[in-house]
């Protein structure tokens, strides 16, 4: 009886430790910037899927719905200083690339909805923008700061990333061309 109790205790202890290790692993996987690390190693990781509320009030936008187009994915927030400098450049880029199977999508992260809408109105942004107040996409993409821009090709693979603000039109166009180039 005592032997059985001891065995049950040992099994329970092992299960608890395994469960805690599993929880730790799951948390690390959530935080793991798989996209960033794979890009840094020269790979083309699949862009993590998302479905988020549009800031223009037209329902939700799913990344999957843009399959077949090149997507310029820009992470930003209204409180982020460099985002203010970068946004006019992105808006100009959107005008240049619109109608060429290239789509611009802004992801407003960890921000107030109202502030984000004011920001978009102030800078006259016409490309699609979604709201991710909880920052659920940040960890999955491996965003290291704001702003940060990812270039996703037509097959849904991330081909390039610009950490920090896009400096000029040439840098933006170079990123788009990398995503348009055959894999």
């Amino acid at each position: 009886m005592t032997q059985r109790l001891r065995l049950a205790g040992q099994v329970a202890a092992v299960l608890v430790v395994a469960a805690l290790l599993g929880l730790l692993g799951w948390k690390l996987m959530q935080d793991e910037s798989a996209v960033t690390s794979e890009l840094d190693q020269g790979g083309s990781p699949a862009a993590p899927a998302f479905t988020l509320e549009r800031l223009d009030g037209k329902g939700e936008l799913a990344l999957a719905s843009l399959r077949g187009k090149t997507v310029v994915l820009n992470f930003w927030a209204s409180w982020c200083g460099p985002c203010k400098d970068e946004t006019p450049l992105l808006q100009e880029g959107w005008k240049r690339w619109q109608g060429k199977d290239v789509v611009f999508v802004g992801i407003d992260v960890k921000d107030f909805r109202g502030d984000a809408k004011d920001f978009l109105a102030r800078y006259g942004v016409t490309y699609a923008n979604v709201y991710d107040g909880k920052g659920s996409t940040v960890g999955r993409y491996g965003v290291t700061g704001f702003p940060e821009t990812y270039f996703v090709d037509a097959s849904g693979k991330v081909r390039y990333r610009i950490a920090g603000p896009v400096e000029d039109a040439a840098e933006l166009d170079a990123g788009i061309k990398r995503a348009l180039a055959p894999a």
Binding site: W79, K110, F112, D115, G133, K134
Partner: protein, 152 residues
């Protein structure tokens, strides 16, 4: 007259009890909410988003919002992770239950070990059984002699 006085006192108590909820201070809210970028409480953060949240809290206090209304508004924008203390529901309940469960399991384990230890010790300390083998008469005589030497 007495009933009226009691009613007045009850009214005053209810009003003062509700005052904490109705009139939160910015300082108490800032210590109970977390900056979503730097993940420290707002009162220790000067990150741009934290400053914006502090301004929002002051605006809502001035507008007469209660503490729970302000917290709910921030959770709606940034998610439950802005709360320094996790809510006692849903997945966050684990944060409350797990330490208590651990404590309970620890107490049970300690109790079981103490019970086992005390039983083992009792067996060691038990006096020799009187019903065992009788002492050798020579040895018993010697023992009596020895004991007699110490008696006054």
């Amino acid at each position: 007259m007495r009933a009226a006085a009691l009613a007045l006192i009850a009214l005053a108590l209810a009003a003062s009890a509700g005052a904490g909820e109705q009139r939160p201070t910015a300082a108490e809210l800032e210590s109970e909410l977390v900056c979503p970028v730097c993940e420290t409480t707002l009162d220790t953060s000067n990150a741009p988003v934290a400053l914006r949240m502090k301004a929002f809290i002051r605006e809502r206090i001035a507008a007469g919002d209660t503490k729970s209304e302000i917290k709910a508004a921030l959770v709606d924008q940034f998610g439950p992770s802005v709360l320094a203390v996790p809510p006692k529901k849903g997945f966050e309940l684990i944060a409350w239950v797990l330490p208590l469960a651990g404590l309970a399991v620890g107490l049970v384990v300690v109790g079981l070990l103490a019970w086992r230890w005390s039983h083992t010790r009792r067996g060691d300390d038990e006096p020799p059984d009187d019903r065992g083998e009788p002492l050798d008469p020579a040895l018993e005589r010697r023992l009596d002699d020895e004991l007699a030497r110490f008696e006054p």
